[in-house]
């Protein structure tokens, strides 16, 4: 497989210390053509043990999340706490543009591999560290998970109304958010390094990354002294309603904007829905009126008589013709069958030797005209590229055998 010529990512080498965090950061670079060398500890990336598994069979190569996060990467196994492992790591750092890591604050320093040391070895290095609460601050050592970071960053509190207990969004969004900011910050630092030959250190906090997704909640407290919770089902015309075969999410009400409200009401009048004319009244253009419990009940009764006659996909497509916003609440099956995504060939399929089967992946988040997103290879098997990478650094077969024997490395 060849990478098109002239791609700036083509000449980029990235070292990623594998952990639960940073995997998506590395993937964004790898999918655009960068060489990403992922160093796993002897214990392996904990993501390998996560359900759901391919074929529903537990196994260190079968985790779908692991498979997704590590496309197009090389994987080596190395104990960087051992003297030999440190030496290999330092050789790699000399050739790297970017280091992505998520060790607890201070751990790399305690190994003698902190940024102070690495930046002497490679002054142009961008060192990106992703941690739950950042490198400094009173919470820096708090034990964490996606759930606790979603809580401490404020995202969970918003996922409910009134006194209702909120629910967690799937797929570890707090990790994705931090990994995304880490990737963007790293790109900016790489631009700076390209111009000035000066590398730098980047401290990314999950808690802060999550707190950027507060919508207007922070300003609602700062400017109006109110603590808000979630949107949806707090105002007539915004939220989840039942239809013939499931649910739809509608946005007809939006502050004092009424351009989405009247086309929906007129549609319901056209369909002779009992009571729909009421919703033409001027008071419905105001948020205060729509937020009254009786208004919400009135709207729901009227709207669900209408939506109950149609499927979610029919409502979706017809609403767009009428400049009305009704979206289907899709299941995974619906998403894979979505005609737009299929037209654009969004999902990518590739045979994986690791799982002995074809994996379907979400595809590119963006299309760059000159930097193609290509699925060149699946996630590396445990130790798949140890031999290749260490050989390229000048280690002999005997060295490798000795590393493996002493538990410093693993070769598949």
């Amino acid at each position: 497989m060849s990478i098109p010529e002239g791609n700036v990512f083509n000449n980029m080498r990235i070292v990623e210390l594998a952990g639960e965090l940073g995997g998506y950061t590395g993937k964004l670079f790898a999918d655009l053509g960068a060489e990403v060398i992922r160093i796993e500890s002897i214990e392996g990336d904990p993501t390998r043990l996560e359900k759901p598994f391919y074929g529903e069979i537990a196994g260190i190569e079968n985790s779908l999340r692991y498979q997704y996060l590590n496309t197009n990467k090389k994987g080596i196994v190395l104990d960087i706490t051992s003297p030999e492992g440190k030496e290999v790591f330092i050789k790699l750092i000399k050739t790297a543009d970017l280091l992505i890591e998520s060790l607890p604050p201070g751990q790399l320093e305690s190994l003698g591999l902190g940024y102070e040391t690495l930046s002497v070895i490679n002054p142009k290095l961008v060192h990106t560290a992703i941690t739950p609460y950042g490198q400094y601050g009173p919470y820096k050592n708090l034990p964490f998970s996606d759930l606790t970071c979603a809580a401490m960053g404020g995202m969970l509190f918003l996922a409910g109304t009134e006194n209702e207990k909120p629910a967690l969004v799937p797929d570890k969004q707090s990790f994705f958010q931090a990994d995304l900011y880490a990737a963007y910050g790293s790109m900016i630092a790489l631009i700076h390094a390209e111009m000035t030959l000066e590398g730098q250190y980047i401290d990314v906090s999950l808690q802060e990354s999550v707190a950027t997704a507060q919508e207007n909640a922070i300003q609602t407290y700062d400017l109006e002294g109110r603590i808000r919770r979630g949107l949806g089902l707090v105002e007539a015309g915004n939220g989840t309603y039942q239809c013939q075969d499931g649910y739809v999410y509608i946005v007809a009400a939006m502050g004092s904007n009424v351009h989405l409200w009247y086309p929906l009401v007129d549609w319901m009048i056209e369909e002779k829905i009992p009571g729909a004319e009421v919703l033409r009244g001027e008071e419905w253009g105001k948020s205060e009126h729509r937020k009254k419990p009786e208004s919400m009940e009135t709207f729901k009764t009227i709207f669900e008589q209408f939506s109950g006659m149609y499927s979610k996909q029919d409502l979706y497509q017809e609403s767009q013709k009428r400049k009305v916003v009704i979206y289907p609440v899709n299941t995974a099956k619906d998403v894979l069958e979505n005609p737009q995504l299929n037209y654009r060939k969004y999902f990518k399929e590739r045979y994986s030797e690791s799982v002995k089967g074809t994996i379907t992946y979400p595809g590119c988040p963006y299309e760059l005209e000159k930097i193609p997103w290509v699925l060149r290879s699946g996630a590396p098997a445990f130790g798949q590229h140890t031999n290749e990478v260490l050989t390229s650094l000048g280690y002999s077969t005997e060295d490798l055998q000795s590393f493996v024997k002493r538990g410093v490395s693993y070769v598949k």
């Binding site: 700036v8 998506y24 996560e50 759901p52 529903e56 997704y68 034990p143 964490f144 998970s145 759930l147 606790t148 979603a150 809580a151 969970l156 918003l158 996922a159 909120p166 629910a167 969004v169 797929d171 995304l180 900011y181 963007y184 910050g185 900016i188 631009i191 700076h192 000066e198 250190y201 707190a211 950027t212 207007n216 922070i218 300003q219 400017l223 109006e224 109110r226 603590i227 919770r229 979630g230 949806g232 989840t240 039942q242 999410y249 904007n257 767009q320 916003v325 979206y327 995974a332 998403v335 005609p339 737009q340 995504l341 037209y343 595809g363 590119c364 988040p365 963006y366 299309e367 930097i371």
Partner: protein
């Protein structure tokens, strides 16, 4: 001397509005890009009309929803319906590095400002379009919002409790992080490419596709195993307990997640080793996963007797993963966020001192700096026309008389 603002000298001709677009250009402005928003009194950014408002009083210069998405930017008031507006835009594009919009497809083309038109004006331009569903395909003209994207890609269906209608995340989440940060990453990649090759390029972001890129496992699971995943509250397929539990106080909850046997033992110690926990039903991870209804109920009976923050401290000291479900007030008062300087207070002409967040990516040598609050609509019209486009006072007055600018 190197510039301390890595994007200094990069100019963005910003047609974007509402959520995902302005959030993207905010990320560029934070690092020093000169982002010039093209606004119009006759077609207001919807966010200027959505609260919260300073002191609760509505006004197009009073929205905190708008302000936090637009620090460090300039605003010009230009009436795109006027035939002469395009000439001004052409001049601005000639002085720009990036042109961005998040309109539905066809709007830029109607003004003859599609990619091919713009490339003819400025050959090395980076042209970014971010319609909800991409620039090709049967749904390319569809309109939608972040929160409806949640529904379309499956986030909404999966967020909530299995026995209730799906509630979702309660926000326009894709607008806040997945779409802007993916797009900004792509733009930065294109800037690096231009530095080394001199070439500009076209960037097409389908907001749906960028959101789906961070929701991989449910679609992969269906494709691989034919399984339609359902929502499961705060639970996890792999470990238990993994939940949100009520504590003392109104709307006060704590999140607790136990990933292995030693963390379970640690939790039991903090709970004072209650008798119920001795049951075989909770003796291993598999057994706990099988008996979660009862497990969660027993834990909540205990958490209800405690204060959330005190409990978090005790659990953290014992090595148990725990976190308070912080609300907006808690976040503004959070000692960790404050010590790290995550909140910045800027002085806005009409709103006065009010809060913004800074970037969660802290670059040691080129840190983000918020140096100006969100612009008033048209605050920089004259400044930009004079300094960037080189127009004279007389020319500006004439354009204003002819309603080309406000």
């Amino acid at each position: 001397m190197s510039s301390k603002r890595p994007l200094e000298g990069i100019r963005v001709c910003d047609f974007s509005w509402v959520g995902a677009g302005p959030s993207t250009t905010r990320l560029l402005a934070e690092f020093g890009a000169d982002v010039i928003r093209l606004e119009s009194k006759s077609r207001l950014d919807l966010l200027r009309l959505i609260g919260p408002y300073k002191d609760g009083i509505a006004g197009i210069e009073r929205s905190g929803y708008f302000s936090n998405r637009n620090p460090n930017k300039r605003s010009i008031d230009i009436n795109m319906k006027s035939p002469q507006a395009r000439d001004l835009v052409v001049k601005l594009i000639q002085e720009s590095d990036i042109v961005i919009n998040n309109f539905t497809m066809g709007v830029m083309e109607k003004w003859n400002l599609g990619y091919e038109d713009v490339k003819a004006i400025k050959p090395d331009i980076i042209y970014v379009t971010m319609p909800t569903q991409g620039s090709t395909g049967p749904h390319k003209n569809y309109m939608g919002f972040g929160i409806t994207m949640n529904a379309l890609v499956g986030i909404h269906y999966l967020t909530g409790y299995p026995d209730k209608i799906p509630f979702g995340m309660g926000t326009n989440y894709p607008d806040h992080v997945p779409n802007p940060v993916h797009t900004a990453f792509a733009i930065a990649a294109a800037l690096l490419h231009r530095k080394t090759s001199g070439e500009g390029q076209f960037i097409d972001v389908s907001q749906t596709e960028a959101a789906l890129a961070v929701l991989p496992t449910s679609v992969m699971n269906y494709a691989a195993n034919g399984k339609v995943q359902d929502r499961m509250g705060n639970r996890n397929l792999n470990v238990a307990p993994h939940g949100v539990y009520a504590t003392q106080g109104d709307r006060r909850w704590i999140a607790i997640a136990v990933f292995n046997q030693s963390e379970w033992e640690a939790l039991l110690n903090v709970m004072g080793n209650p008798e119920w926990a001795n049951s075989e039903k909770f003796s291993s991870m598999d057994n706990r996963l099988d008996n979660q209804d009862e497990l969660d109920q027993m834990i909540e009976e205990w958490t209800l007797k405690h204060k959330a923050y005190q409990l978090m401290d005790q659990l953290a000291q014992a090595g148990v993963r725990a976190g308070v479900l912080q609300n907006s007030k808690d976040l503004l008062e959070d000692p960790n966020l404050n010590e790290r300087g995550f909140w910045a207070y800027l002085n806005h002409k009409e709103m006065r001192r009010h809060v913004y967040n800074v970037s969660p990516a802290h670059l040691s040598k080129t840190p983000v700096e918020l140096y100006s609050p969100a612009p008033l609509l048209g605050e920089h019209t004259d400044e930009v026309l004079k300094e960037v486009l080189g127009l004279s006072e007389a020319e500006i007055s004439k354009l204003r008389e002819e309603n080309v600018i406000g």
